[in-house]
Structure formats: structure tokens, C-alpha cells
Symmetry: C2
Subunit: 185 residues, 2 copies
């Protein structure tokens, strides 16, 4: 419970900043952003996020929030997981589906990990997880792997969903709610 009212969110993405502000500002937490090119480690989701937040807090010398996204295929024991960025870049939407052709289980978790860290302290990690499955791309293909992820209980992919609905079930939203609970506790 850090009684903190100024936090730097490490992102170069104005949309992400707005989304974080929309949830945290009403609780009296002032969020500004800074774009930093931080090294990303290999490891578990928690390790990758923790080390990024620790590095950012030590560099910026202030409380920081970082965010990571993973896509974890059940049949592949949680992989590509934190490496999904490279697989999306290298294989595209069709390739992500092809990777699963040899597996019966097409289910996957979309995972968002926010990490909060103050300089010299241990990072705290908040994980939001949305169950779903990998499907052939449907909807706009402009935003990462949204077009191939269909959340459980819905007929649309993330890319096809109404944004207001997506924002109440998404892995990012679930993770951010945990951040909010922590910061206002």
C-alpha cells in the first residue's frame, strides 16, 4: 500500500496511457508517461515484468508502472507466452493458427501483467487473465493478435468486439483493476 499519487507509466503509446488514466485518475492517482526502450528478459511472465519495472524505477528514480502482454497456448504449456511479440512478427495471424494445427486444444489465455515498482524496492506484479481460443483471423488485423483471439463466452474475436465490451473483460482491464485495488488500499 504505497500512498503514492504520482506514477510514471512506461509507455510510448498514447492510447494505453489514456486507458490507464481513465481507470486510475478517478482514484486520485496522477499518471504521466515516459517512453523508455527497456531490455526484455527471457523467463516467466512474472520475471519478465518484475525486472522491467525494477530497471525502469532505478532509471527514472520514481515510482513506475510497466505493462507486458502474453498469449499463452494451453496445448503448448503456456508458450509462446512472453515471446508472443516475436511470433506475431515472424508468423502473422495465419502462422499462429498453423502452429496449433498439430494440437487438438486450441484454447489460450491472454495475459496482461502490470508491474509497480519504487526505486530500490521489490516490484509488485498484477496479472489479468482472459480465457479464450485461437481462431482464424476475423475483424480488423491492425492491433497485434486481437483478430485471432476469441474470448470464452463470446462469438466475436477481440478485434470484432465492441470496444466498450472488450474493455470490461479484457486481460488488460482485469490486471488494471488489481493495480487500482492495490494503489487505493
Amino acid at each position: 500500500m504505497p500512498h503514492i499519487d504520482n506514477i510514471t507509466f512506461v509507455t510510448g503509446n498514447a492510447n494505453k496511457l489514456r486507458e490507464v488514466q481513465a481507470i486510475l485518475s478517478p482514484a486520485g492517482i496522477n499518471i504521466r508517461s515516459e517512453s523508455l526502450d527497456l531490455p526484455e528478459l527471457q523467463g516467466t511472465l512474472t520475471q519478465v515484468s518484475s525486472e522491467k519495472a525494477r530497471t525502469a524505477a532505478n532509471l527514472l528514480k520514481c515510482p513506475v508502472l510497466t505493462e507486458d502482454t502474453s498469449l499463452c497456448f494451453t496445448a503448448m504449456n503456456g508458450l509462446p507466452g512472453p515471446y508472443i511479440k516475436w511470433f506475431m512478427q515472424g508468423l502473422g495471424h495465419e502462422g499462429l493458427n498453423r502452429m496449433l494445427v498439430g494440437f487438438d486444444d486450441k484454447s489460450a489465455d491472454a495475459v496482461c501483467t502490470f508491474a509497480y515498482c519504487e526505486p530500490g524496492k521489490e516490484p509488485v506484479v498484477f496479472e489479468g487473465r482472459t480465457r479464450g481460443k485461437i481462431v482464424p483471423a476475423r475483424g480488423p488485423t491492425t492491433f497485434g493478435w486481437d483478430a485471432v483471439f476469441q474470448p470464452a463466452g463470446f462469438e466475436e474475436t477481440y478485434a470484432e468486439m465492441d470496444k466498450d465490451i472488450k474493455n470490461t473483460i479484457s486481460h488488460r482491464y482485469l490486471s488494471l483493476q488489481k493495480v487500482l485495488d492495490f494503489l487505493k488500499a
Copy 2:
């Protein structure tokens, strides 16, 4: 051309140390080893290796050699590449084959990257690459993914091959030859 005769090879593996010594010692280069648990970055093969060697040289304050192994599936645009360790751990030999069921091209490169670095200097990276293909596991399954990699021009997998033959065509051998050429130049 670093006229260096003492190098620390960062490994906890006595077999790897012996292999490196067998090739570099006759050239008058004295190799000792040190086991270090170094962070591994995400990125290209060259980035991953360079940063590991740079970190090790700065920590140990002496010239170092580090080694990384990748397995690059052609159909997957070089992936899993530097992340093969996680895929081998998470999926096993059968899973690596299953990942390729949806792709016609089963070819792959086994890649070994040695990096040499002196404290405060830029790392030099040496890549050895052996072409081959991914096959259902044959031979002893004790050494990483050797049982599913069949080098081009051979009927045996790495795991089935006579060690003396494997050692003259392997990605490690090819990379280490480049290290030798560099160090004795």
C-alpha cells in the same frame, strides 16, 4: 585480434569446457571456466549473445567467452530460435514436431553463437550454423533436442550420430572454429 592467452569460458558444463579446451588449447590459449547465472535477453541471436558476453566480462573483469544455442525453424521464420530452451522444456520432443504439423517445410538450422568480450569493449560474435530438419525423436533423448534434429546429408539424428562425426559438422564446432581463427589471427 586480441593477443590474449587466458580466457574465461562462462559455463557450468564440464563437457562443454573440455570441448572448447580441445580446440583452443593447441593454439596456446588457456581456457578456464566459471559458472555464472546471467540474465538472458529477448532479441536476435546476436543481441542475446552480445549482451550476455558484455555482462559477463564486466562482472568477471577479464576476457570471456559465452555460448548460446538456438534452433531456428525455416517455416517459422527462424523461431523458436533463441527461445528453444523454453519450447524444449515446455513441449518436449513430440511437441516440437507437433508445432510443425501445419507447415510443409520441416527444415531447421541448428545455430551456435559464441561471443568473445573484454571488459568495457564491444563483444564479437561467431555464428556456426548447421542445416537440417526436424524429425520424430530417434536415438538417446538425454541431450536437449539432439534426437529431433537430423543434419542435412545424414540419415541419423544428432543423437544417433557417432560423436566424432557429429563434432566435425556440428553448429558448435563451426562456431568454435571461427573463435579459433579470430583468437590466433
